[in-house]
């Protein structure tokens, strides 16, 4: 089906409420030409032939971060609560993103 939506600050907002199944849903979006900043046709990222020792180093770094990404996290209740200051900063940084998107 075709639905109308507005793109705003990196999100698509449907004009009429639509209930979708949960999960990732691929969409096709029509963007008016005048809204595109410049000619930015989608380009796949280039791939490089890296020397094996560089690739090995890159994978060591990846492995370290993957371990953290995949590690089970403590229960929410066992973690210190976010302080008022931290919550304020989370808000402030989303506000910053918003201000930047005005331009």
């Amino acid at each position: 089906m075709q639905v109308e939506a507005i793109y705003h600050q990196g999100r698509l907002e449907f004009i009429l409420p639509v209930k979708l199944r949960s999960g990732r849903i691929p969409l096709v979006v029509q963007v008016p030409d005048e809204a595109v900043i410049k000619d930015t046709p989608y380009q796949p990222q280039p791939t490089y032939q890296l020397p094996p020792e560089v690739l090995a180093l890159a994978l060591v770094m990846e492995e370290k971060l993957d371990q953290i990404r995949n590690a089970p996290l403590p229960n929410d209740a066992d973690l210190p609560s976010l302080t008022a200051k931290q919550l304020e900063r989370i808000e402030a940084f989303s506000l910053r993103d918003e201000i930047r998107s005005w331009n």
Binding site: L57, M61, L65, I68, L73, P74, D76, P80, R89, I90
Partner: protein, 518 residues
């Protein structure tokens, strides 16, 4: 080339943001593999933390995982801590960027921070299009960096003494110490001076340590404290840095040069006694290249004639002799904190060590214009203090010093092994002492040709020293040039190779290969 990592690149990596992740990851690995350093800007800490938090939150919304705010935040901090662990922190400095007038204050600061580095040695790695367009000479995208590095791989410059790696390793402590001095403002005789003196005395085992303006000043003040002056003689080696003899002559005394041992290049203790006269007032051995001379034998001769011994330990701080530390091997020990010395500062500095209370008090007074209290001058002195900032720098370096000494000894031994295998003559070390290898020195024939070969290979070398002091125009009238034939021969043949705690085994091996090809 080094890279300063913009926040967007750090986020690409920490949040594994496709399609940007792979290039960002590979660019960092390539930079490190080619010997570059990766820098994070301390002014970006909060941006990193909260932008990663919101990126992870968006990902989680898309993937429908259910982490609480606290869990997300904990994950975000763990990722950043791991990412930052092998990076260098670049301090945010006030005045870099017109912070509130700029479109993007943080970008402005990042770009200006690059100006602290030598031109062309660092770029900001970013995929922020406006930044890349506005500063094409200061920025690179990961893709551009990879292409450029694959086409023109950069090899780090081979330094004779690599002080940069040391600085990077201790930068946080260094910056903290320097800033403390800037804030307390006691630039002369501040608390860091007392602290350093206490630490150095404890390190060497000497009862007293007096920091002074340089190694030369340490020697001069020591001789003044011993009352050496016109008509006196001081026995020393001609195969040393000029300061050793210079201070003797400055005081109107005469250096009496004794030849050196052919294998260690240190003063030959067996030849000293024959040079003692009634005018002899001190013996001044030099712990050349970082290795003490035969101090037991020298101290025994000195005791027989009731003479003080001043160890010129400018090159040997950290070395040992029969288990005792250099600088604490005789009446007085003098060292230098010249930047390239085993323990160096970022300017001039030095220290005097002694167990003798009277010498200690004399040195302290002479260091400050011979004053016993403010504006009361009991003796003639000099302006010879080491400033507080330099003491703060040595304090930062001391924390890594034990490791550095171990490294130097291990690298020196490995050099020895390689030279012996290749049949290259070298300065020898005795079993009852350690050298800190302020220089690693070999003996070669046709030295200028060998030097040229090294230059071609991009490996720096140096000569310590090409002319013995008794052949120098300013000193040659003090001793015939032919009286010290071994010094003469060694001056013609010695050549020092790159050395330092941060020399890599690969670098060491390339030095060896260059020598082997001769």
């Amino acid at each position: 080339m080094d890279l300063l990592i913009d926040v967007n690149i750090a986020l690409d990596i920490c949040a594994k943001r496709q399609p940007f992740y792979t290039s960002a990851r590979d660019a960092l690995a390539l930079c490190q593999q080619q010997g570059g350093k990766l820098w994070l800007y301390t002014g970006s800490v909060q941006t990193l933390e909260y932008n990663l938090y919101s990126t992870l939150r968006r990902d989680q919304e898309a993937n429908e995982t259910q982490l609480s705010k606290r869990q997300l935040h904990a994950k975000c901090l763990a990722l950043l801590a791991t990412f930052a662990a092998d990076k260098q922190w670049l301090a945010a400095l006030a005045g870099e960027g017109n912070v509130f007038a700029a479109d993007d204050p943080e970008d402005e600061q990042l770009i200006r921070a690059l100006d602290r580095f030598a031109p062309g040695t660092i770029k900001l790695l970013t995929r922020d299009e406006p930044l890349l367009e506005a500063h094409p000479n200061k920025t690179l995208s990961p893709e551009a960096f990879i292409e450029q590095s694959l086409q023109n791989p950069s090899t780090p410059k081979f330094e004779f003494i690599d002080l940069k790696t040391q600085q990077n390793a201790i930068r946080p402590q260094l910056e903290q110490n320097i800033h403390r001095v800037l804030h307390h403002g006691t630039y002369i005789m501040g608390k860091e001076v007392d602290l350093l003196e206490a630490k150095l005395a404890a390190y060497t085992g000497a009862k007293h340590c007096i920091t002074v303006a340089s190694g030369t000043e340490a020697l001069l003040i020591s001789l003044m404290a011993l009352g050496i002056g016109a008509g006196d003689e001081v026995i020393t080696t001609p195969f040393t840095f000029v300061a050793t003899a210079e201070v003797i002559v400055l005081l109107g005394a005469k250096p009496v040069f004794v030849d050196i041992e052919p294998d260690t290049c240190n003063i030959d203790a067996r030849l000293i006694e024959a040079k003692i006269t009634e005018r002899t007032k001190a013996i001044m051995p030099v712990s050349l290249y970082g290795q003490p001379a035969d101090m037991d034998e020298i101290n025994a001769i000195a005791a027989k004639y009731n003479l003080p011994v001043i160890e010129d330990a400018a090159q040997s701080f950290g070395a040992t002799y029969k288990g005792k530390k250099s600088c604490h091997l005789s009446t007085i020990g003098c060292t230098s904190f010249f930047p390239s010395k085993p323990l160096g500062c970022y300017g001039d500095g030095g220290a005097i060590f002694t167990d003798d209370d009277a010498i200690y008090h004399a040195c302290r007074e002479i260091r400050i214009h011979g004053q016993s209290r403010r504006y009361y001058h009991t003796r003639v002195g000099v302006g010879g203090r080491m400033d507080t900032l330099q003491c703060a720098i040595v304090l930062a370096k001391l924390e890594r010093f034990d490791w550095e000494v171990e490294q130097r000894i291990a690298l020196g031994q490995r050099y020895n092994q390689l030279m012996d295998e290749a049949g290259i003559q070298r300065v020898q070390q005795r079993d009852d002492r350690t050298s800190v290898f302020a220089q690693y020195t070999v003996l070669v024939e046709q030295r200028s040709e060998v030097e040229a070969r090294f230059k071609e290979a991009g490996i720096p070398t140096a000569v310590h020293y090409p002319v013995p002091l008794n052949e120098q125009p300013a000193y040659q009238h003090l001793c015939c040039a032919d009286c010290t034939p071994i010094a003469k021969d060694r001056a013609r043949r010695v050549m020092s190779l790159p050395m330092g705690a941060d020399l890599t085994q690969a670098q060491q091996f390339s030095v060896y290969q260059t020598l082997q090809k001769l």
